[in-house]
């Protein structure tokens, strides 16, 4: 039953929601606006909200100085690659934790999550050395692996939560119907878990797309994704705010578009189980 909400309450919630949304969105908006300013206007004080002189020169120069499409391609490969590879590992893992739990399952989940609490810089040196000796430095393959690994706990957690919502009877029915494990997963579990899997994939792609620590530290010219492309505008010759903003805008544009079109799916996935 929907509870009746008084119009005044409804208004105040709407206003509050807008304030929060604007606060969250403001940095992105500011970046986009700055990318259309001249370098001079970008560092004006007090700052100008709208560009006093709209210009596209930052974008032109960014594309001239570095190859956006190459970095874009790298970002696509590692974010989608790490997500798909991650699914291959986490779907069976989450299946076993959700449907044949043992006394230790909760501990294992906690332990997996705890690795996310470890500062990445703490393992930078060993990982770097391992990558070096395996010749994985500055390779798309190496980056895909490392991004898959760092997002593994989140994927397992999300999938585990979604799978737990699926009645185990239905999986048992498929076993009685003669489905062996992989058929049970492919024909019964996955189709029923599509909303959950889709939102896990989306979140993981976004996380991988924006990941900057490992991508910056383990790449040079070849495998650098968009994060490294942005970073290259804040180094040797000093800070160029407008160009940095243009690079950032270019980098976040694809993911912003994907996020916009899939927001329904994302929200549905994240509240899966909370609403029946």
């Amino acid at each position: 039953m929907a509870r009746a909400v008084s119009p005044r309450r409804k208004w105040s919630f709407t206003v509050l929601a807008w304030i929060v949304a604007l606060l969250l969105f403001f940095p992105i908006l500011w970046t986009i606006l700055t990318s259309f300013k001249t370098e001079g206007d970008a560092i004006l004080f007090p700052p100008a909200f709208l560009p006093p002189h709209w210009t596209l020169e930052n974008f032109v120069e960014v594309q001239d100085r570095s190859n956006y499409f190459k970095h874009f391609f790298n970002s696509v490969v590692i974010s989608i690659g790490s997500t798909l590879l991650g699914l291959v590992i986490t779907v069976p893992a989450a299946w076993s934790m959700a449907f044949s739990p043992t006394k230790r399952t909760k501990d294992i989940l906690m332990w997996m999550l705890s690795t996310k609490m470890m500062p990445a810089v703490g393992v930078l040196v060993p990982i770097y050395l391992i990558f070096k000796s395996l010749n994985l430095l500055d390779s798309l393959f190496g980056l895909t692996i490392i991004l898959m690994l760092i997002n593994l706990p989140i994927m397992v957690w999300m999938l585990y939560t979604y799978f737990r919502e699926i009645p185990v009877d239905i999986l048992e029915a498929s076993r009685m119907d003669g489905a062996v494990l992989w058929k049970e997963i492919v024909y019964v579990l996955l189709p029923m878990a599509i909303p959950g899997i889709a939102s896990t994939m989306l979140l993981n792609i976004i996380l991988a797309w924006n990941e900057a620590f490992w991508t910056l530290n383990l790449t040079a010219a070849n495998a650098a994704p968009l994060t490294a492309f942005i970073a290259s505008y804040s180094s040797p010759e000093g800070l160029f705010w407008a160009k940095l903003s243009a690079a950032s805008t270019l980098a976040i544009a694809p993911i912003l578009v994907i996020g916009w079109f899939s927001q329904k799916q994302l929200v549905r996935g994240m509240t899966f189980g909370a609403v029946k």
Partner: protein, 336 residues
Amino acid sequence: MGKIVLEGVEKTFGAIKVIQNVNLTVDDGSFVVFVGPSGCGKSTLLRLIAGLEDVTAGKILIDGVDVVNTPPAKRGLSMVFQSYALYPHMSVRSNIGFGLKMAGRPKAEIDRKVEAAAATLNLTPYLDRRPRALSGGQRQRVAIGRAIVREPKAFLFDEPLSNLDAALRVQMRIEIARLQDTLGTTAIYVTHDQVEAMTMADKIVVLSAGRIEQVGSPLELYNKPDNLFVAGFIGSPKMNFIPGAAAGDPGAATIGIRPEHIAASRDSGTWSGTVTVAEHVGSDTFLYINAGPLGDLTVRSVGEMGVKPGDRIFMTPEPGRIHRFDPAGHAIVAAH
């Protein structure tokens, strides 16, 4: 073919023994019903046979082959779940045909068998619907259809009718019994509904706390219960238990007499008491009687009987219908 034999089957969950040393033979083509109070292990025993749980000890033989290490997918049994457990993302057609698809049967054969099963179960108009667009009774039929198309060695039912309303339950009960009879497939059926057990079973297995108390035909259990538990569990209303000494039978610790085997009279009888509650249901009258040293007794009298609470009443047990039990609760079998 589908003879199922359990030999010394045990199951523990953690430290709790849920199934204790169960030995049972389910003959090919027979309809066996597991009954017992809630939590006695009926579902667990069924799931052990299905392979959905692993046995802790013992053997399960299907047609002479021990299957304890065989996964459920390979045991060749079908199961109908209480929750129906239909695949929500598939049409009725795909739900029923799923088992055949898993077995890699050709599409033409699947279509033919699914349509035949649907016709038997009056599901033809719904073949292209999703389960969520069906009523409870229709869903249950789909679950049954899914079980029969595979031509399994046996059907396993876990309280398949308990989510249906009373009228539908009676109808489905008759349908299941008729279907099983026509197909001649072995069936194991879990229920806690006495009427289902008595009417459907060739053989009833009474379970209590993970043990088999007695196995027998419905009338054997009714007429010759092995012990107090079975005597009290089978039959409704429950059998009356009276201390032997009070009933004038010092040789038995307890005697039992069913409510329908006591004749009530206003004038004379072996025992006497005061009516506390009289339930008039038309076909029968149920009397709850305070019979002093004998305790509280229930009497079922056929037809209308004009008595009301507070009336004095006399009772006469039907000779030959008295069950006698020793102090350990075992039936004392009359020496012939």
